[in-house]
Symmetry: C2
Subunit: 237 residues, 2 copies
């Protein structure tokens, strides 16, 4: 898939679940896939949606972008260029992940508004002033300071699903410095043509992962190229 | 630790982060630890706080309590007796995990109110009628039907941190059929003496994991036994 569809992509987003269900050999395969992607010039966004209390979040950070000291020497993690994280546990649980990403020169994508239908159950709950996903956007924007680069773009990004495009413009205004990771295009029904607001004027842009839409296509190279063109058109309209 | 502290415990709660940061050998060690715990008569609560869109949640379920078909035959997952999950993605994302647990005779603990200070940032947000953690408790109780056993106890449980004991009585009334998994005792400052409401009259009870408080003690067996006695006293007062 990296060989065939890679030329139309900027990154791979391996879904950790699909590797860890195979146990230790699955984790070895995951590391191999990340290496192959890097050798092909692709970024690696490790999609594990990890999140835990601070001491454990620090251990996840070691797995994703750091290394772990052992009596036999340090063990390298996945070396991801970025990873997804679940922000339900709040700012103190995100901080170890964000700071580890900063130290590694990596980026973070926190779930703000996911692409599944059930996202509305929790993430769209009204609060006195704003729905929960807007509060999560506020958390992301606050933490953006920690990963701010030259030019004002932050390594602190947000997952904003393509399946509820009506939220994108508002979330872009709340997180102007954050790259959006926008899943849900393809098998889940999201359409690149509705994502223009994610690419609105400003420093930030968006990554649009397409997994089954490419992997399950008869010609993955052609499917990736078609999707690239559609995203490009939406981003420049 | 299983040999020494195990006799005072009913379960181990391996923290997946601490194994996966060691890569494939870490996952092999995790499987070995789970096997050793089972051989010692202990339950295994796999603490990974996984959660993702439905198709990916099904893959996590394979890793935790199921098996994965491959051309070379099925690959067994961890075989956990229960696991933790993050409910931010809503009901449709929990359902594949809950249903897989039901098929495997296993249980689920959804995060409702975690033990870290930052939990308040998101989980205690006021909504028009109730704070978010109460809405999450509602989700848990709705899904309890799917894992209901004889006698009215459900395999659908909830993570309710020991560090905010003022929420426990209310959450117990909202989730009367759910076992509570109550982290935060020991290193995080929670005290068993304040957890009595989790064991209030009714079918459900609670598990109180103590990790660093036992693992870092000079005498883990004595530390586990002391904690067992304190929890027992709180549960019967």
């Amino acid at each position: 898939m990296i060989e065939r569809a890679g030329p139309a992509c900027v990154a791979i987003k391996p879904q950790l679940a699909c590797f860890e269900r195979l146990g230790a050999p699955g984790w070895a395969a995951l590391a191999d896939v990340c290496t192959a992607a890097r050798e092909a010039g692709l970024l690696v966004v490790a999609d594990g949606k990890r999140g835990d209390v601070p001491v454990t979040a620090a251990a996840y950070a070691q797995a994703l972008v750091g290394e772990t000291p052992t009596p036999w020497g340090p063990v390298a993690g996945l070396g991801a260029d970025a990873f997804t994280t679940n922000p339900l546990l709040g700012a103190d649980a995100l901080e170890p992940l964000v700071d580890a990403a900063g130290a590694a020169g990596a980026g973070v994508f926190a779930l703000v508004r996911t692409s599944n239908p059930g996202a509305a159950d929790v993430q769209d709950l009204p609060a006195p002033e704003q729905p929960l996903h807007e509060r999560l956007a506020g958390l992301v924007d606050e933490l953006s300071d920690r990963l701010l680069g030259e030019g004002g773009l932050s390594g602190m990004g947000a997952v904003v699903g393509a399946t509820a495009p009506e939220h994108i413009a508002r979330l872009r205004s709340l997180m102007p410095r954050s790259i959006f990771l926008i899943p849900g295009v393809g098998a889940q029904g999201g359409r690149p043509e509705l994502l223009g607001a994610a690419f609105a004027a400003g420093v930030a842009s968006a990554l649009v992962p397409v997994s089954r839409g490419i992997a399950a296509a008869e010609d993955p190279a052609a499917a990736a190229e078609e999707m690239r063109a559609r995203v490009w058109a939406a981003s420049t309209e």
